[in-house]
Amino acid sequence: MIGEQSQSLSDYLTAEETTELAKIQRDPLVVGYAVLTHQGEEIEAGGIWRTMIAPIFANVFDIANKIGAELGEDAPIEILVMESGEYEVAGLSLHRARAVIVKQKGGAAATAGGGLRSVS
């Protein structure tokens, strides 16, 4: 298990999202995560790259939305995934926040955040 939930999370996540986040934090393959506002401010982060995830992926979300704008998309990016040889990073757009989850490859790595997404 990584990280601890802060009280301010409840301002940004629904009860279901909070429950799913807790499950994600207990997943042994999840090695890092961050919850950030839609404006890119970090609400909470933990694990690998904990100080970097929020600022970097705030920019990644912004750039992804620029790609969406070029394609004529009306709505912002819903899901983004980035991969390296060892990790998968899933970025999810929720109701009032964004979540970024870093998961080691192996097993059903690509499902990181799947439950969180399903309640959004």
Binding site: D62, A64, E73, D74, I79, L80, E86, A110
Partner: protein, 155 residues
């Protein structure tokens, strides 16, 4: 095989692919239907470069593939040596995305060869040149610093 020919093969290989493009140095090659004639694909590839560039700040790991899920499109981008390959797709689920990754892998080496060959965009290239080009991509393979010229994007 020219870069355009490889891109054409990539597009034909998967029904979900609407079009694809690759940026190499200051040049962008594409295989896109007319419906996208209004889209600034140079801009799209620069944004893809920027996403990789931004995440290079994550120490110890280089993210080299991107999947973006929008309402009406999905995007798959991956580094190919110093270039970035971008596939514009119909909305696809993750399982199809995984299959697409495997499918695109088949074309990475031909694409590397085509990008490395100076006459890659010449019509009907001499097939005899292919074996020479085959060893060329290895030289540049570790140069993945990517896209310093793409820092125009805010981050």
């Amino acid at each position: 095989m020219s870069v355009e020919a490889v891109l054409n093969k990539i597009s034909k290989h998967n029904d979900s692919v609407l079009g694809c493009l690759v940026s190499s140095q200051d040049k962008t090659y594409h295989n896109l239907p007319d419906v996208y004639s209004m889209v600034d694909f140079q801009g799209v590839t620069e944004y893809a470069h920027s996403m990789f560039d931004v995440t290079d700040s994550l120490e110890g790991e280089q993210l080299d593939q991107i999947f973006l899920e929008f309402q009406s499109h999905s995007i798959y981008a991956r580094r190919v040596d110093e270039s970035v390959l971008v596939l514009v797709n119909k909305p696809i689920p993750r399982t199809v995305f995984k299959k697409m990754q495997v499918g695109v892998n088949l074309f990475v080496k031909p694409l590397q060869r085509a990008l490395a060959a100076p006459d890659a965009d010449a019509p009907a290239p001499d097939e005899a040149a292919a074996p020479e080009a085959e060893s060329a991509p290895k030289e540049g393979k570790k140069k993945l610093g990517l896209g310093r010229m793409y820092r125009g994007v805010r981050y």
